[in-house]
């Protein structure tokens, strides 16, 4: 991982968390729409499951530590988002990727509600998670339609492009002669 990717990742997580707390959260009300989760999904859809898992785990842990519920819940859920979206990536159709991101994020929010209900935190209940899963999925899809093209554009720039083993080898081979 390059320094530029790490810095961009941290900046993206922080921005998403701040926007979630100040804009998306108050607007969404009881519906668990999650901008950071959709961001994790978008990164995973572009960069694959490896980056998605790492990004999801770090973002989730940061969100957990900044909240009142026990740490590890969002880390586990968004780890799952990164993994699933990395595996489901279509990479050709933004709509299909956005749909995949929406479904995975909605399921992750449901899983989060279940986990929180199990550990009796934040007054969460499985019932409210089930009630809000469809509206959350629709809102996540709208966010994903916006974020997936953005993630594609940013992660395909020279500075932020993921270093791939095959590319490195080709470059090294080219230099050697």
């Amino acid at each position: 991982m390059t320094r530029a990717r790490a810095a961009a990742g941290l900046a993206a997580i922080l921005t998403a968390l701040l926007l979630q707390g100040t804009v998306i959260g108050p607007w969404a009300g009881p519906v668990p729409v999650s901008l950071p989760a959709v961001l994790v999904a978008a990164v995973a859809l572009v960069d694959g499951p490896g980056s998605g898992m790492a990004f999801g785990f770090v973002a989730g842990l940061l969100a957990d530590l900044g909240s009142t519920h026990p740490a590890g819940v969002l880390a586990l859920c968004w780890l799952g988002v990164g993994l699933a979206c990395g595996l489901l990536a279509d990479r050709h159709s933004v709509r299909r990727d956005a749909a995949a991101a929406a479904i995975v994020c909605a399921l992750a929010s449901l899983a989060g509600s279940v986990l929180l209900a199990v550990v009796h935190a934040d007054g969460a209940s499985v019932g409210s998670g089930l009630v809000h899963v469809v509206p959350a999925g629709i809102a996540d899809a709208l966010l994903a339609l916006l974020l997936v093209p953005l993630a594609r554009r940013f992660l395909h720039t020279d500075q932020l492009r993921a270093p791939r083993a095959s590319t490195d080898e080709l470059l090294l081979a080219g230099r050697r002669g």
């Binding site: 694959g48 499951p49 785990f57 989730g60 900044g66 590890g72 780890l79 595996l87 550990v119």
Partner: protein, 281 residues
């Protein structure tokens, strides 16, 4: 659909186990409290900064769907507010009325009079007098000229004349009005002359009467006054002895003539009224 490499699979398992460890640690003993506090403090400061920047925009956008209806709501609330203020003022006035009626009732009960409650509907000069009040009761309720008027605490004046539904009261505070008065402490009788809002001047019949500041004055004996006897006029505030040997006193009135509202006309039987009216003015 992609497949995970073995390294990615291992990483996924390790991260999941790590997340579960965090969860167990935090639920079990709260050993991550310091980390929670640190991150929450940092994010809290960032949240406040971001909200200061984006909050107004968010609130503006949130208010847009109800922008049209707010005007109506504000108007309705203002109307309700005005109504409630009106009710509040009416309640306050009703409480004052109730207090005054209680005082009137108490005065009537203690002195054995019948007191007819009346509202002052006008204050000003009439019939050549400066200080008169018009009441909303008249002859059809038994009001006759010469009857005394009280506010329950002290003397207000006497009825000058009455028509069917209203009557004019000459206030005791009028400079042209003289009230036969008695000093309650030493029983000295004299004349209290009105001086408008500033009270009365009391001149005792006995020039050597020993008057003292603080003495209470009441309306005098019925043969010497047109007022019902025993109504409080005021309290002597200062006593002056002039060079010719006469003594006068300044009287602070019991009833303020400029703030009259609810009063009571003391309705006597015909003989008593005639008797009272036949006295000095």
């Amino acid at each position: 659909m992609r497949r995970l490499t073995s390294r990615q699979r291992t990483a996924a398992i390790v991260l999941a186990v790590l997340a579960l460890c965090f969860l167990t640690l935090d639920v079990g003993g709260g050993s991550l409290r310091a980390s929670h506090n640190g991150v929450r403090g940092t994010l809290g400061a960032l949240y406040r900064g971001t909200d200061a920047m984006l909050g107004p925009v968010r609130r503006f956008v949130e208010g847009l769907p109800t922008a049209g209806t707010n005007k109506g709501t504000i108007g309705r609330l203002e109307h309700e507010n005005a109504q409630l203020r009106g009710k509040l003022a009416a309640d306050r006035a009703a409480r004052t009325d109730q207090r005054q009626l209680t005082a009137l009732q108490a005065a009537a009960t203690s002195e054995g009079y019948r007191v007819l409650p009346a509202r002052v509907i006008a204050l000003g000069s009439a019939d050549g007098f400066d200080w008169t009040a018009t009441l909303n009761v008249g002859t059809d309720r038994g009001v006759r000229a010469g009857q005394s008027v009280t506010d329950g605490y002290g003397l207000v004046g006497r009825v000058l004349h009455a028509d069917r539904s209203s009557s004019v009261v000459l206030l005791a505070a009028d400079p042209g009005s003289g009230v036969g008065a008695r000093d309650l402490r030493n029983g000295e009788v004299g004349l209290a002359t009105g001086h408008g809002a500033s009270g009365f001047t009391f001149v005792p019949l006995n020039p050597k009467a020993a008057l003292r500041a603080g003495d209470k004055l009441v309306t005098g004996p019925s043969s010497a006054t047109s007022f019902v006897p025993g109504l409080s006029i005021g309290t002597l505030s200062s006593v002056h002895a002039s060079t010719d040997g006469t003594t006068t006193a300044t009287v602070r009135p019991t009833t303020s003539p400029s703030s009259l509202d609810l009063v009571g006309v003391i309705v006597l039987d015909n003989a008593a009224t005639t008797d009272a009216a036949g006295g000095s003015r």
